[in-house]
Symmetry: C2
Subunit: 707 residues, 2 copies
Amino acid sequence: MAYVRPSHAKNHDTSSSKQSTLPEHNRSTGFPPTQIVIQFAADIKPLTIKWVLQKIRGLRREGGAECLVRRHPFSENEAELFVHVAATCNLLLEVAEELEIRKRDKRGILRHFVVKELEEFLLYDGPVEDIFTSAEKQSIVRYELENIRALAEESYLPGYPHLKFYEGQSIISALLHWGLIVQVFPLHDEENVRKLGTQWYLAPFGHQPFNEIKLYFGESVALYFHFLGFYTTALVLPMVFGFYQLLLSPEMLAFFCVFNVLWATGFLEMWRRKCSELAYQWGTISLTSLDDEPRPNFQGQMAIDHITGRFQPQYPRWKTNAKGVEYPDSSLSRSEVSWQMYCVSFPLVILCMCGAFIVMLVSFWCEESVRYMNHSHPLAIYVPSTIYAALVYIMNKYYRTLANFLTEWENHRTQAQFDRHRVTKLVLFEFVNNFMSLFYVAFYMKDLELLRTQLATMLIIFQAINNVQESILPFAFRCYWLKFGNLVKFKRKQKLKRSVHEDYVNLLNPKGGDEGNEDLDIHINLDIPELEPEDSRIDQARRESSMDPYEGTYDDYLELFIQFGYVTLFAAVYPMAAFWAVVNNLFEIRSDAFKLCRIYQRPLSRRVKDIGAWQRAFEVLCTISVMTNCALLYISPSMSNWRSSLSSFEWCLVCIGLEHLLFAIRQVMSLVIPDKPQWVREALAKFNFQSRQALKNQRRSTSIKEQ
Amino acid sequence: MAYVRPSHAKNHDTSSSKQSTLPEHNRSTGFPPTQIVIQFAADIKPLTIKWVLQKIRGLRREGGAECLVRRHPFSENEAELFVHVAATCNLLLEVAEELEIRKRDKRGILRHFVVKELEEFLLYDGPVEDIFTSAEKQSIVRYELENIRALAEESYLPGYPHLKFYEGQSIISALLHWGLIVQVFPLHDEENVRKLGTQWYLAPFGHQPFNEIKLYFGESVALYFHFLGFYTTALVLPMVFGFYQLLLSPEMLAFFCVFNVLWATGFLEMWRRKCSELAYQWGTISLTSLDDEPRPNFQGQMAIDHITGRFQPQYPRWKTNAKGVEYPDSSLSRSEVSWQMYCVSFPLVILCMCGAFIVMLVSFWCEESVRYMNHSHPLAIYVPSTIYAALVYIMNKYYRTLANFLTEWENHRTQAQFDRHRVTKLVLFEFVNNFMSLFYVAFYMKDLELLRTQLATMLIIFQAINNVQESILPFAFRCYWLKFGNLVKFKRKQKLKRSVHEDYVNLLNPKGGDEGNEDLDIHINLDIPELEPEDSRIDQARRESSMDPYEGTYDDYLELFIQFGYVTLFAAVYPMAAFWAVVNNLFEIRSDAFKLCRIYQRPLSRRVKDIGAWQRAFEVLCTISVMTNCALLYISPSMSNWRSSLSSFEWCLVCIGLEHLLFAIRQVMSLVIPDKPQWVREALAKFNFQSRQALKNQRRSTSIKEQ
């Protein structure tokens, strides 16, 4: 690569750097590492492609992304156009400052990267852009692409006058939605991912290479693996007690009831602290929904943001007028909770939960009535539960679509808010599906033996199946597809995408048959530089385009959430749950790692400061576990020698007293253990103090200048 | 006053302002308004007075306060030396910037005051120092006086070699502690306080003049009156329902049980929001225990604070070494919770609570056994409760001393932390004293009629007595003293102070008898300018020195806390409590106002951002009220028509179910209602964003300069 260090450093030391940041692909013959690949649909009009690429290459001050692009050379068996997007060094530097990326400088201090002080961040010799990690560079390009937004005068997509933009809509997101772009994905860095793999899934007894994970996959994925590791370590304590009970003393119900609550509360409080340490080290701790970047799908009028002063989509005025009048400082306010949430989403979610609950009850009643029918086939008893399992699967699928739709409609400003509300909706529903049947067994049937059997089944068999299903099977399939079905899947996938959005693009291609010509047009008439035919990235892009995208950490957290429920909710009757959870998690760490590195497309890196709604979800589970464990204590027949002198009513009061005591202890623990470790609080206080001082000084020097 | 505006403005526009801020009393003949009066003990050595005054008048960079002083002219019937302390305009400006006082500038923007931009804050013609409110000026002088700290080389008090300083000890605080200074108090501004009174306690049906209260008494007192007003307004709703129940429907137990919890939770959540609005407007919202100023009694080595960069007492190193090694960034850490709290204070507080509880039980048992003794005197039945009341009074007194001592010993860094921990200790004890007897009546004796009677007695009679006792009586006494006993009380007070600290000063005055000579020495030999003999402040200082000091808002909040307990804990059986609380509070507002303006010395103003531990205390009361109200529902005989079809056990389960539901609702409410209103969050986000940008720019411009 021809990116020589001194020239860039100089560019940025002069105040005219803005003028020198024109796209550089004319100057250099090589093409910098591909950050993101865009795969256009086969039947998109050349005019549209041209317009999109013009946006991507356009100047930032004119609403472009100032990125470099290269297309794949024409190939017979490639219907779609692949465009590789890369960033110049200048762009990386500029946007890194805008995104407030924090880097360590020469004195070892972690602080916001500033272009003008580039020299201070250059720790090693080598290309300037190497101060950014692979995940950071990718984030920067993603940010640039997502922020190509429709301007006021661009009311429709060139080539498709019926496809309207609203002002401020993210253009790439819109084209993805309409099926004109098949997918947008970053390429794996094959050397790094192999190196990462040897330290990670190929080293089953080593520590996880957290730092490398963060550098390669970004904060969101790294935080998940931190959480998984932290949680598994924490599980060792209840596991030890579980073995102790298994081997020596047959009955410690009351002990496990109390211990479990203390352990779970302590674990969640300590995780909160750990999480804030990580967020501080990653520089994400002060991200709030107010100054974080808006989501690409956030709908709003483009205007100057009154907090950051950036040109970004803003909430439409009518939503916030009432407030705006009251406090003139914030005339364009960011409404925090929309009426949609309370008036529509919340009732709908409750309705769905009730529906799922009723389905569960019906299935149980059917099973019972089948059991009492003597003449039935011996296998008939499994019919209701099989039907129930199928129903849950289908309900889940539709409910996810509903939840996505509702959350999108609520129009949350940042990705973190969006995820939080989406996860909240999904978790409530999953709670009913996964735990209600156990509640039924425990507290309606009061069959603790059956409860134990069910828990063991879930923890041992279902978890194992799950692991196989999510990593080994896809890997096997992929090997198969790669050998035999690559092109088939390829085509099918694109068809699927198109059929889903057929209503949008039904006017798309009047000529119908002569796709070949169109393709040829695309490949010949477009004025885009091509990659060298022997460039390895061409093959890589084709290969990875056929992989499934990683849909985010939701499913992984959900697995842990359900497991945590099995471990804590009924800890009093089945303390061995912790052991099986540990066994599963040790395997889970490696299989998730393998999945990310080898099976899925590389995920887009996301900056996060905590695990979002999951923290709350785990805490609620912990609160519920106080109740369930005390209730188990009450109904358990094995406590008979303790309660011999007490009437059932008195014994109930004792259990309720214990429950209240545990609630109180939980409250005190969460009060006494601060959310952030002292050193993080101090570092933040110091940063805030210095910032305040700087603001004062800045105002002072401005006023001196004015005089 | 000779403080002419342009000259000062100029002084501050040049960068040499630091040199021009020498004490100005040589330049001007008048003496600016007295901010604080220091009353020295009669028998203090002249050498010591000289040294202290030298400190007060000394340069700030040499550890002085740079304040102006004037003594009272010699008078036969005044044994102690009164010194008036005032501030030059320059000092006010300089310290205001250091304290980050926020003022509105010409454009109407509220921002940190900066000396160099003085012109922008001058909204009206008039003396420059009038941009600060009376409370702010007083705060500034108090801050200066409190921050005269013993330097490393000053190991003992001149004149008293046995009285040792530790490095960084606040000298004025130490002398107060040793009894060498009798008291330090600000003077009332008689014109303003009269004007305030007519708008406040003399206008029983007007709104409280919150802004004027804040300007005159400072944030701490203003927040108390805001809270009192907010709480009283909120009480109107339960009052209306109380009347409704009284007049129409005799039994709404279940309704009141639910309503009460919703109301109390809603009230506390809304107060939190209101409070953060106020704190934002007052510029105190971002005060934290880490960057707030240290308390005068905070013990630590003087060093450069690693957060603010100021020269302030720091935690001794040995306390924080363990952390310091781990995180080299914070080698001088501020330990957050000391071992003292958990290992000593907490067990002691629990012990005292148990003691108080046992005393209560014994008194109840005595009362019962007296009741069953038939031959006893009819009045004998009142003996146990009278003894109990006396015991509670005595216990309370000693417990307060203990709590003060323990909290002082825990060595909290800021006043807010100190208050929080002190209030927590006191409230736990007060809870036992005030509510346990009601719990006994309600849940052990199960006598709901007696409970109602007791609640009514407490709310009507005790509150009335309390009001009389705290404002009318002292006023009457004061009138009496002023006429007849002024000098007597004067002497007595000083004696008291001295006798308490006799052990410190027993070597103080070997000559014993010839106090008169010493006094003469003081009055003649000291080189301090005197006030003009006809200055009205001399009389005022004498008069106000005999008033009681206002000990802070603790007692006032405590009253509200106890009242809130009466209103919510047993709301289900006595809904009229809200009415009596409103009646009392309407009177309380005026009597507290009267007390502050006319009976007590003017309180030192304090900056606060919330009501501290009281918020938590009220919330805990609210949580407990969920339990008590549901328990009342369970034991109440009047619910018999509802529960006719249920067994006692089932009815218990229903009540517990309701309790859990109410807990869940409380949780959801506190989650859904954000702590800060949207506009405050936005304003803070904007401020933080701008500060971050300024810090970046500052670093940038520094690095440009270096090149």
